[in-house]
Symmetry: C2
Subunit: 410 residues, 2 copies
């Protein structure tokens, strides 16, 4: 049998500029680990509460009631009943009227962000990105050839003075930002939630500089005890805010379903540029049914309690095993603790020492556009089984102690 | 309340070049018609045989057996058990060994074709396209800035002499085609199936000119009495053929699930360029279960009988009501009859006269890259209820008679 002509090297020679930017590395599914690992790495939902029965019940109802509509094409905006259910539910949550034509269904929020890029970005366009941030989104912006300008955050969130400076600088050069990308609520990785005053300032800046705020809200509904301030989308009256949301964290990442709300003419353009003929109307109608029958809201209420318990357990363990080595701000929701290591400890060293003890955490540099060295670690407390939390943080503490001892010797 | 800032006009001013190419028109879901219509327009599956119960049964099994894997991220290649089931099943169908790393799962074949474009195309690249062809694919090529060269077909399919000429012409100019797009089996819209001799010639040309054949096989498994020749993918030993397939026509368009097979290094690049974090592992595992438990194959056998019966009914009605006005070649499978109208009848006139009688058909020009005027109509016989076929063709015959009478008067 002849050798195949299309080797990896030959393929490298013919791929698009976009594919070249990305390189050959692939994000496949997690491989089974050789030894048991306690993972604080991925922003994944709690396993025991996964809503299989809720989905099966809704699927049964959908097939009985509307099999034809569920199993036929549903258009590029997504299944109408889901858009309708989202619009109604969001009107209540956001406190502004949200119309169906302001809603588009996507394959999760990652896809939504990609479709926003397809709709708005040409190579060389500028986007502003709060920093640190979610690496997956920064990767997407990069592959669309965007010039990313990092805007720093403090403990409250994005620094609006620096945001104004950057927007003004662009305007002075006759340029503009296509959008400002931020995660104002339960930020990934930093865990902080932007206060109302800064949100209002962000909206004012978006208006003044005629740009959009691309508001990633994957974690917004997962607050623990305090409801977050109104969204940028709501504060802009649905005009300058593009809010990207997902069913991944409130139902299941394995559905690949999310939605975006924004100005109707922009949503319409997003429906046009996609080439996937829309997201599954079957899954869309199943999720619409979980909204209608109240299961989604009940499930979210349950998740809030579960994640608060996990956070409390992580906090207790951090207090016991890591208190000399790091500090953090308590998040009001979401999946993440952003640990600031004490001077002398680098995230790289601690991550490695933790790995050797069978504990995985997210390392700081991946969350910065310039991959700068940091003394931060991201601890996702959502996925790890309740009973493994103490042991995992215990080992993390040992790793910190070891690195501290080594650095003291030097 | 102030007027919204982001009007359609302002949005038009800030969208990407890609969005500008597409314009604001949107393909939404079919709107309910004001009066009952008999539709031969869309390539949609038969309604009464939609497999809701098959899917629910498989979903129950998947949730019971593997809820965690089904409801978590599954990676950008798609759920592993589905890739495995596709590789095994395809090895049997194709007659060559197909490995798991040659398979990627996508949101239907439309999405697969888009991902191939993302992976291979830069603006200005050339693709060859058999003509007539599926408008959705030509639209996608256009939005990626591809230069499309039409290669004509005859009753057997693509003219390989003309294909060779075009490839040679490109080579003479130091250029090359990134791929040749074709639907060799039960072609859309023409209904023809390329014979083995020409398929072998296509593979030989792809090898000689170092290009790919992007083989759209949405309808390949829906043969009626004659199994089609081996695919281009199989004949090229999986090396120069990229075969794009879909569960849309053999299960349901509402799943938005399909798959692509090709050289492993190219499949790997496709997994990298997509930004949707993969297709739903829940749906993927549900479909894998329908393959494993035999339901998919049984369903396809049932569909072959249904579509053959519909074809026979359409043929009988055409014989009765339209025989003086058009001719066609009998398709060996798929969803479409490609009617050649007799001289003097244009597709536009007949379509309009049919519409006035409550019958919808696909008009010829949309299937040509240059939208040239034609005397062809596409009749999709798959979707229309069995009991409406005779009445629909009857009205179409009246429409043809009316247009013929009008043109005789002129």
């Amino acid at each position: 049998m002849p050798e195949p002509y299309w080797t990896a090297e030959r393929i490298d020679g013919v791929v698009s500029e976009r594919a070249k930017t990305l390189g050959p590395a692939v994000w496949a599914a997690a491989q089974p680990e050789a030894r048991p690992v306690i993972s604080f790495a991925g922003g994944l939902p709690d396993i025991p509460s996964l809503p299989g029965e809720i989905l099966l019940k809704a699927a049964r109802t959908v097939i009985d009631r509307e099999q034809k509509e569920a199993l036929e094409y549903g258009g590029t905006f997504g299944a109408y009943p889901l858009r309708q259910a989202i619009a109604e539910r969001s009107s209540a949550i956001e406190g502004i009227p949200v119309a169906v034509d302001q809603v588009i269904v996507t394959s999760g929020s990652a896809h939504a962000i990609g479709v926003v890029c397809e709709t708005l970005l040409d190579p060389g366009d500028t986007v502003l990105v709060e920093s640190p941030n979610f690496p997956g989104s920064m990767r997407t912006f990069r592959t669309f050839g965007a010039h990313q300008v990092a805007v720093p955050m403090d403990d409250i969130g994005i620094r609006v003075d620096r945001l104004e400076q950057e927007l003004q600088k662009l305007a002075d050069n006759g340029n503009r930002a296509k959008f400002v990308y931020m995660i104002p609520t339960h930020q990934n990785p930093a865990g902080c939630t932007l206060d109302l005053q800064r949100r209002e300032k962000v909206v004012e800046l978006a208006r003044r500089f005629n740009t959009f705020v691309l508001e990633d809200d994957a974690y917004g509904e997962l607050w623990f005890e305090t409801t977050p301030p109104p969204s940028i989308f709501a504060l802009s009256n649905g005009d300058h805010g593009i809010k990207v949301s997902s069913f991944s964290k409130i139902l299941a990442t394995g559905l690949r379903m999310g939605w975006t709300m924004g100005p109707a003419p922009l949503i319409s353009r997003m429906a046009t540029v996609r080439y996937d003929m829309g997201t599954s109307p079957f899954l869309g109608r199943v999720i619409a049914e979980t909204i209608r029958n109240g299961d989604l809201d009940r499930h979210i209420q349950n998740l809030r309690k579960i994640y608060l318990r996990k956070l409390e357990r992580v906090e207790a363990a951090l207090e016991r095993y890591c208190s000399g080595y790091c500090t953090y701000l308590r998040p009001q929701g979401g999946f993440f603790l952003w640990l600031a290591l004490r001077p002398g400890l680098t995230s790289r060293d601690v991550q490695q020492a933790a790995n050797e003890r069978g504990v995985v955490v997210g390392q700081g540099p991946q969350f910065f556009a310039d991959q700068q060295a940091t003394n931060h670690l991201r601890l996702a407390f959502s996925y790890v089984p309740m009973e493994d939390i103490e042991e995992g943080v215990h080992r993390l503490g040992e790793a910190m102690a070891e690195v501290a001892a080594r650095s003291a010797v030097k």
